[in-house]
Symmetry: C2
Subunit: 283 residues, 2 copies
Amino acid sequence: MEILRTVREMQARAEQFRLSGKRIGVVPTMGALHEGHTSLLSLARTRSDVVILTIFVNPTQFGPNEDYRRYPRDFERDEKLAREAGVDSIFRPDVEEMYPDGFQTYVVTEEVAQTFEGKIRPTHFRGVATVVAKLFHIIRPHVAVFGQKDAQQLFIIRAMVRDLNFDIELLTAPIVRESDGLARSSRNVYLGELERLNASSLYRSLAGAGELIGKGERDLRVVRDSILATLAAASPTLIDYVAFVDPATFREIDSLRGGDVLILLAARFGTTRLIDNLLVPLR
Amino acid sequence: MEILRTVREMQARAEQFRLSGKRIGVVPTMGALHEGHTSLLSLARTRSDVVILTIFVNPTQFGPNEDYRRYPRDFERDEKLAREAGVDSIFRPDVEEMYPDGFQTYVVTEEVAQTFEGKIRPTHFRGVATVVAKLFHIIRPHVAVFGQKDAQQLFIIRAMVRDLNFDIELLTAPIVRESDGLARSSRNVYLGELERLNASSLYRSLAGAGELIGKGERDLRVVRDSILATLAAASPTLIDYVAFVDPATFREIDSLRGGDVLILLAARFGTTRLIDNLLVPLR
């Protein structure tokens, strides 16, 4: 396993891989790897000859009052996990390498970046789309793998790939959860003991909503109330949103009729903001 | 020479070229080809094995009250000129092929897109950067050729290529002029007979400014006054701007000291808006 730190090195290595007919798979991350990430690496492994892991805590996707500085960083542990997952190359650039002086070009996805996470974190998706476009140009992957946990991010990257004609196949891996249902996230380490217990209410409320709909409930107010009741019992500091969207458009729906529904949650426990989601099929 | 109309066909053909080791050169245009364009094609020819011409009147770079609908289109003539210039493939997509329903991703260059042309045409450079990014993904060129006439556009594409890590070499070709100095432009056909005569004042004023500076004039007000006097004598409908910028930053300079100066002009004759520029070396 090799570790590359400059754009030039990475671009040259990727071109070698391509010219020798190798299929390149990339898994973009901010490091602080957990089992969610390793599941993405395993999926990439099955669909490509070469697996490249990128580790970059991307400053442009953090707002001014967010956790950029204290975001967990542990490269030694990440390197070990990457080796175990069969990664071929780690691309781990510095901030100055990715955003040199005079940097001013961004990729913006206009409609969907205004809602939900985008409403609360106004420059977040601009930062995500920009860094992913850069990584795609640097690595030229055939396949890129993203987790379903960041559902809106996934939708935006899919829109970007389609709208800007990136010739890249996107693969999605399901959310990996702790035994009590909490979605794995690098930010879970911020949670105090009690907050950690309460945070499982995110999944419990989603699972309960899925069950209700499965049993035939079609009144969104009833489903929403059940989610809010489960969350409220776990004393969140704030519930940012509970939303029901059409997974094909990411637009909010106002009734449960036909198609699937994607339920989105964002809430804070203590000072830690967590998100989760569940896709519920409607028969 | 082949003519390709879909993204899928063009992307497949480009991948074939790449895998067979051919160096791809692209010249993006809106058609209505003139000698400026054919000079770009000749330059591309000298630096690549395969020359691809794109012809697409890009709606996203026109403002609502601009000339999108009446922009000159003459594909038969363009095809003939392309054949004579040794073009291998023309990529000529429909608007629906490039901007299908739901399109919402744009590339924006923040700082420099606010000034000069960007001030007068607020969404212009967003449209240019977006379509060029799309064409780069569809064609995957090794080399792309742009004219010096659209100096600010060239600066923005250069910023985009650098900021987003496109692995593409940009080449620039000098402005091709009519015998009286008027820069070749597809929009020159809009000019009435008298307007056409008066429009040569753009170049005459630039050439006069270059001479003044060459003779040692270092007072920008004197240079600006000389340009304005030459232009005013030709009865323009409006002078949009006369600007002196540092070609390395595209920021306006307030004194002539060291480095080169790029002089930018935009003015209207009748209803036709024309731009021109001159790079003046400072000894």
